[in-house]
Symmetry: D2
Subunit: 488 residues, 4 copies
């Protein structure tokens, strides 16, 4: 989609056994910046003590030569956090770093736990205190409360009480544990660098630092890394794989390989399938940059219609923008995008984007293209209509705000003022995933939540906000309400 | 003393029931800046939620118009933290603000708990996690772990497990509890402002905001303030009062009234007693500014020797200072002080300071005065020799660094190059406190610790650092070692 | 080219007669950020006084809501400055703002004056003082020294003494003068917004603010705008047009129209011509983003070889970058670019970039593409070899650093490790400009300087640095030395 | 006076021939911080080039280890600028650093030129441009315009055209000139440090860096320092000495020696004279800190009434202060001062301050003292009533704002609510200066301006603001109006 309307739940990076651990973590977070721009942090360990640097802003703003130098030790974990609406707060930045009975403990988490709420309520009733509003904090508490003595047993006991999505890096004084939930919702890759090990949300982080990709951390796997070596455990009951298909559609960088496939290739296949399924006669295919570029290329190749860079993106956009008080038409969208009039003028244009959330930005983009002189504007979306919220780590708005959940494709086309509008079908999307099509979560398109969220009685606000408004919701596939004790 | 070698353990401020609670807290902290310059913070409550602003630096650097505006609500607590050596960290700044079973909880603490170490070890064994290295964090955990339902019962249960010094402000969603340890080590005053209540470490904070001083929070008292009114409880067994006499000697502002007496008057009496007890024939009395001013005035009045401002203090000194590589003589001391040569030249000078810690600064000051042309330099200290560390909230160095613990007065005089050196005697100091002389802690002068510190077996570093080095220590009055299970 | 090795001499923006002049200038500079990232500034006039805000950094860092509010008045000029090597300094940022006999005067200048040096020396001999090292400062002095009484006559007198490139905005208290040198080296467009006038280095600035493009300011034109209206003058002898062809090749944004043509269209035509002239059998065409994208599209279209986004650009790169001490291969280039292995692997690849300066970056990019598994790598450059320095506003390195000035294409291909390397010919490049091919400066490709630079005897450092080293230089077409009194 | 209502026109510091020139300049400015807090700057010379660091704020904010390191060379000049009302601007900060025909030139100036206005108008008519609103800029222009070849002759020619107050440091590439106006309005001291020379507005700067005071730069003297040595010239006609007596009353630090006398001693004598001339029966003498301290000591000694620190000053006051919206009584004054109630209560108090400007602060201080329980409040001012503006470098308000110019002492006493009010007489003040009483300017007390200001016809605003309002002004001793061609 054109503007950053969806936000992923962060990037995780970890390195063990390298003399420049903190510097590598910094570089890794740098190449994972697209997964979170609100806050960034690194915690390193010199085998006795943790050293932390966590701040608001981009990786390049949080770190500098002097604070990286103070992050001593051969192991480090790092985290980028996405930008929420409203006032963002340092206390919600990760890695979380605390002390408990076994010494220092740090955690970096990507994903969303669906029963964090009830676990937190139980923990609070038992006397636990919470510093943040992050669901990740319950993981820390459960580890600290475990009566097991080994780090990995504590982590296993903690995670066995949790449901939902997690790609995790945990660090003690001299040991690191990398874990991924049994469904494998979020990506997590493993590699080597010299004699050390590295882990990252996406493989593009390995490319920057020159690390060698080995394999993905498997769903349900617990990887223990310490001075004895690297050990793999599968302490949880196996579950159906449920990778997030939206990572291919939008989040991941095209130069990453996730879930066993190249993001670039899958995304391009979405474009090809879309051209095949929803053809249109036109003079050029133009992407909404940067999110629609690869799918547009696929569409152009399959359809034979020339690809054109008809929209330019301004990459210097800062954090805040001062609007003129006198309204400029389509001002918001123009800050980031501008049409190349001479390319578009007089042509029938296919505009390709990855998805539509509220529809407001797409509408402005189409208007901009029309004003640039396009004869016809055909919108093609390289994913199905987004109709449901995500509970596993993607910051989608509530159902009522998703234009795809309320309106028909025809109505949306009219609202956008597109000559035609067409989405990729769920079937075609799954076909593009070929042999692995069964292993993916597509709940945001069909509402089939494999692990329904569970809320504490006293804290139903999120549920209420997202669901209560939605009378007509189909409860067969809706998130569990308070009545549903726990997931499955 | 001349430079800020001792550091107090912070300032506490609280306000309940005033529409401008956060702004008043800001002003209160402003006037208590001398009690802590490392970090400052305010947490307010709008009856449902807490709002926090905590940062490193002076009050004027942490707060601004816009962040104070966001601290909504009619109640707020604030805290200034002192500056430690080494890297100071935001995670150790107060007030601490967390969520627990009853909702939001914030704490501001002045003083030092002597059994925090063992309590923390016990809590960690039970699964608690710690974010900071502050002893104050155990208070929060004990409150959260209490099975009592009323806030005040939770606090009582928590505090009954703790020993040492605390002047505390605790804030829930709509209720505030102000508490002071049974010995009353640190000051804490209560006042009214309009229909609201205010609490502060020192009364000078009341003067700035125009609040009316009512009385001190009593040792062992728990003051509960909520929408029903203000209620006083004495849930703990009464103990011998043990106010910190060093507050009069150095910490408190002369315009404050603490422990029932004017700081200015007591400090001046110290100077008079000193003149009476340790007279000398001289031409002028000059203070080391600002700490020695009031005592010097007392000395001058009692002795009849003229008072003179023979040393000027530079008040523009910033946080860091760039030294020239070529050594300038007595450079460090000159950054803050300069002698008024024309006043000193040819005279016999009595220099009055409040205390001597390591002696290095006093030595430079005497050299500076001699170079300004003084014929004789007589040093007079308005307190007894500091021979022992403090365990109740004053950041004294270890015994081995205290010049008064190792050397005789004659040896110190020789080291300082003073013609004569004399301290106020313990007896004379206590006499100055008149009717209340029995109510004070003077452990830093005589080692009589009313509540000895207790350390966890695994965390003896502090003890080791402070005591183990000190073979000849008199164990009859020394802090308890690990063998001493718990205090009294 | 891949990295920002060339730098343009800034962006100019001006607005007259609009109530939100400063805000529009801010937006204009925003969309011209690509022309200069070192410093940014705006000066507005409220008809009696100038208001200035100038700072180091990106537009979004220099301006905020509060400082834009203080830039009062209905007229404003703005400037972005490019980033030099070494320490950049605020005193060299523009607009320059001074007071002289007629009141306040501000100037924003894009381009380079070739005789600034001799004029400055003459002015200094007459007693002028200089604050900056900018050649633009001589313009200000010449205006102030003019004995004419009308602003426009002063400006005319000043400019008639200067040679070289200038696209200028000048502002007095209530009048604005926009000027362009007789050769028209740098672009400058004119538009309207409501009842007001706007001027900008590129038309993309008009798109953002919704202004209507009218025409370019003509070479040698002096546009006077004041409360009476807009007036056009041609006070200088006409000269041969000499637009900078490099604006099409690299600098200008593809969505701008400059020198009467669409940058996107011309750039694409360069790609097509290149494909026609320098074909190769291959499986895919990939651009070096962002500079090579449009030409690569042209190449792909003309050749019929599929276009592919084989290199990803990281747009979050900050100002500074902390390198690991252990060398990572091709580290520098990887910070900005990464190859999409799955797209490239096993393919014969045509890599298209706009130009090669030193060759070091291209070499790293080719290595990265090879390591991604390319079977063959064919480099195609959409401009001729850059063999000469620019004296009209483009920050090219000295001749000896230009790989194209010293090595043959074959040698360069070997250095880059390209299977084949080919450049666009000068003839083909000119052909792409169609009817206007005679109107362009291509001195950086052939050394034909229409206006040779003149240096003062005492300040030959620049010349020496750029030329003296170059024994074999062809003096027939070389820059004039001190002997050459003035340019033709 | 209590608050910083008067502002001096800055501090000047210079060092020649020392390997750590910039660091020494930094230290010198540090100790002269009281003479200007708005901006600070240092320019050094490495014999070929100047290096500059100039910024807004305190010395400790402008400089840091890294920017001082870049100020290379063995010679440097520095400047602190005072804080004006309204928006302060970097362009008005000093030293000014420019290039002219002889190379680099830098200037630091303390004082005010009375004919800068007419000279500037003349220069602008001749084509000069001005960057700042500082009168100091004309000096630079006059030097650059001189046809003389030697630096010192250029400076002589420039200064001979100027009237008013200047203590100046000028630096070329390898030479330094220190100059003081023939009347010697502002102080300027000369010293040595190792093999080098140092110059400073006050001698306290020498104490910090360990420099040896040699003598004052004499009125009308031009000191040239270069690699040949130090040379003294007196190129101007001798004039009557006219030192600023207000330096003794308020500006200078008590530990400085200026105009041949100790500031501390003269200030104390003012207090003694005041006690002798304006006695009162009372219980204690209290100063308004810090400005009234030394005079109060003198008053106490002479009168035999005990000196008491009855007012405490808060030294942590930051640049901005956030006021509560609900008014707190006497809020403004309380931010800086608080009364020591226990000291004051029930006593008859003599409050000593150095001067009264508008009277508003004094009024609040008296109210605060009364509220602290004083039985009687007697105000004593250690200077005569301030009745006239200063034109030689002190930022006094216009005559109409000076309470002493409009009201009788009795009326002022009533306004302040003082039981009695008395000023030092002009005669007694002059007597305190003993043998040098003829050498001082006391125009702010009697309006006898030795060099009247001259204004350009077109720029009469300042004059109008200060004088036109004042119909009853005694023109015999008033500043010259536009009719008065030139001074003298």
């Amino acid at each position: 989609m054109a503007l950053d309307k969806f936000k992923d739940e962060c990037a995780v990076f970890a390195v063990f056994g390298h003399p420049e651990a903190a510097n590598l973590a910094y570089l890794g977070l740098y190449s994972l910046q697209h997964r979170g721009q609100e806050a960034s942090g690194i915690v390193s360990s010199d085998e006795t003590k943790h050293h932390a640097e966590i701040g608001m802003g981009h990786v390049s703003e949080v770190f500098n030569e002097s604070n990286i130098l103070q992050l001593k030790g051969k192991m480090a974990i790092g985290h980028n956090r996405y930008s929420t609406h409203g006032r963002s707060q340092l206390k919600n930045a990760q890695p979380m770093a605390i002390e408990y009975a076994r010494g220092p403990l740090a955690l970096a988490h990507n994903g969303n736990l669906v029963n964090a709420d009830v676990v937190r309520q139980r923990l609070e009733e038992e006397g636990s205190i919470f510093r943040s509003t992050m669901d990740s904090e319950v993981i820390i508490h459960l580890i600290a409360k475990s009566k097991k003595s080994r780090f990995q047993d504590q982590v296993t006991e903690a995670l066995s009480q949790l449901e939902g999505a997690y790609s995790l890096a945990l660090m003690g004084a001299s040991e690191m544990i990398i874990a991924r939930d049994p469904h494998g919702f979020r990506p997590l890759a493993m590699g080597t660098l010299g004699a050390g090990y590295v882990f990252a949300s996406e493989t593009c982080a390995f490319d920057l630092i020159g690390a060698k990709y080995i394999r993905d951390v498997a769903p349900g796997e617990l990887v223990v890394v310490n001075n004895e070596g690297l050990f793999s455990y599968f302490p949880f009951e196996a579950r159906k794989k449920n990778h997030c298909v939206f990572e291919y559609i939008y989040f991941a960088r095209p130069d990453s390989n996730i879930f066993g496939k190249s993001v670039h290739n899958v995304r391009k296949k979405f474009g090809r399938k879309l051209a095949h399924e929803k053809p249109v006669e036109a003079d050029m295919v133009i992407p909404v940059p940067d999110s629609g570029v690869v799918a547009a290329l696929g569409y152009a190749e399959e359809s034979g219609i020339p690809f054109e860079t008809g929209i330019i993106r301004n990459h210097y956009v800062g954090r805040t923008f001062i609007e003129p008080t006198q309204s400029i038409r389509h001002f918001g969208v123009k800050i980031k995008h501008n049409a190349v009039k001479e390319a578009i003028k007089g042509n029938r244009v296919v505009v390709v984007d990855d998805s539509i959330v509220r529809g407001t930005t797409s509408r402005k983009i189409i208007k901009m293209i029309r004003e640039a002189g396009a004869k016809e504007v055909h919108m093609r979306i390289s994913s199905p209509p987004t109709t449901h919220s995500c509970f596993y780590g993607i910051d989608t708005p509530s159902r009522s705000e998703l234009i795809g959940s309320t309106y028909s494709v025809e109505d949306i086309a009219e609202y956008l003022d597109a000559d035609t509008l067409a989405y990729l079908s769920i079937e075609a999307m799954m076909d593009a995933l070929e042999d692995r099509k069964e292993d993916f979560c597509k709940a945001c398109f069909d509402g089939n939540y494999i692990v329904p969220p569970v809320y504490a009685e006293s804290q139903l606000t999120l549920l209420e906000k997202r669901l209560a408004e939605d009378e007509e919701i189909d409860y067969d596939r809706a998130p569990a309400t308070r009545k549903t004790a726990t997931a499955k």
